[in-house]
Homo-oligomer: 250 residues x 2
DNA sequence: CGTGGAGTTGAGTAACTTCAAGGATCGTGG
DNA sequence: CCACGATCCTTGAAGTTACTCAACTCCACG
């Protein structure tokens, strides 16, 4: 699973990290759910128009405020997109794993990127120039529909979080946040579900609208009850069903 | 501006309220920002495939939980989309005025409608069958791009609210909520901006994650300071600049 | 002219945050 | 290989925001 650490990031940000070697074809994206509705020819063309890039752990794909020149799809690794408010607060808007799009919203609305997606692991992404991708969408209706479906899911998730954050107490929000993470990057193990995404208490707080203190306290309590098993940047759900109960009941 | 009260809603919900008279052509939608990127021929075809419907004040366009058979565009009037949580809480997810889409997200994700949009005034909408609209999108790339742009804005708004609800105090959230309303349905008047959308304190609370009590207290305080002028289901911003200050400063 | 939805206002309190301090774990360089 | 700095995590105590509970007023409409 561990990908060899890459040499050194050149320049700042994502610039100039193109993967040496062959240009991508359909085989790189065939397995992704996002592209299922495209046929082989379409996938090849879409992939051929992208540039692959490696992003080292801790590097940003792009930065909040920059004009949206490109849009990305995560092939491997993962990103957390954090937004900084004018007064210095931070929020984690989204975590994206393999198959996730990033930067597309800004490309379509033609407004600056609203957040900074930072790689939480060494990652591999495909990058399309803004105009290239919209041209592809015009050419392949199936691609447009895939985008629209993906954005629809984004909206539903955002609305779910919105609903949670204004009707639910912290404990339940944290439960929901963790379940969402598990759904997105959980792996069944021995006895439980492991969250493969490296994430701190702080991050969970920024995702659920709580302080890291409250998150820590809550997770400690759950650990007492055998519901989860925590570690540094690491979390295992021992009893997901109990979490579901906390998330959905009184 | 006042549209004559329509006779009587037949059946329940939105069924059977088709407007008698001519089928729509491009002229019905030409002025809407959403359709700007389409040419006249495309607009005609898109409009010709829609059915116009009148929805009386208080009626629902569709109901949360129903399968998404159609998607709608508001031509006149307005809707507030409220979602009811499993445990009985309510949230106002969105208000839509002329030019706003409704139900599209569910059509694309193929999941049940997540909320119930209720007309706050007698309203006129266009309705497209789900398959009809996706077929139109496949035929006209410009339509796809318009949809994608609109959804992008939805996402940005949802994220903005999400950020607000987890980093800001009630007073600022209320300020933001009211400014958002004003931007969407505000009308410049004598001295100030009137919110034409009929809305209760309760609704504002459900939009901003506050109780109606807190909203009432806050608005009362602002009224004292001459920032707003309130009435029953009615609100005038006397000093929008002051609200901006409250929304964006310490 | 009464009824019910909408709005106002006060008092008490719970849920979280803030403030504060210390402990655990990682990885890096000597 | 071990020491040390930087993160990350834990836990206690004090402090506040905004919610809950409760009572009352105002207005629009039939």
């Amino acid at each position: 699973m561990a990908r060899p650490r890459i040499e050194l990031p050149r320049h700042d940000g994502a610039a100039g990290n193109a993967v040496p070697g062959r240009r991508p074809d359909g085989s790189a994206i065939r397995h992704l759910e996002f592209f299922q509705a495209l046929d082989a020819v379409e996938r090849d063309d879409v992939a051929a128009n992208a540039r692959p890039k490696r992003i080292a752990k801790g590097e940003a794909l792009f930065r909040q405020g920059e004009p949206p020149r490109a849009l990305f799809m995560v092939l491997s690794g993962g990103f957390k997109a954090t937004q900084v408010t004018p007064d210095g607060h931070q929020v984690v808007m989204r975590v994206a794993g393999p198959g996730g799009l990033a930067g597309h919203v800004s490309v379509f609305t033609e407004k600056p990127y609203p957040a900074t997606p930072v790689a939480v692991t060494d990652s591999l992404v495909l990058a399309w120039e803004a105009q290239t991708f919209t041209a592809l969408m015009a050419r392949y209706p199936a691609l447009s529909l895939a985008v629209v479906r993906d954005m629809g899911r984004n909206i539903e998730e955002a609305h779910a979080r919105l609903r949670e954050s204004s009707t639910e107490r912290v404990e339940r929000r944290i439960a929901h946040g963790i379940l969402r993470l598990a759904r997105q990057s959980g792996r069944r193990i021995e006895n439980g579900v492991e969250i493969t995404f490296p994430i701190t208490r702080q991050d969970i707080g920024l995702m659920t609208g709580a302080t890291l203190h409250t998150v820590s306290r809550t997770l400690s309590a759950w650990e007492q009850e055998g519901i989860v098993d925590g570690g540094r940047q690491h979390l295992v759900l021992r009893d997901p069903h109990a979490l579901l109960r906390i998330a959905d009941e009184p």
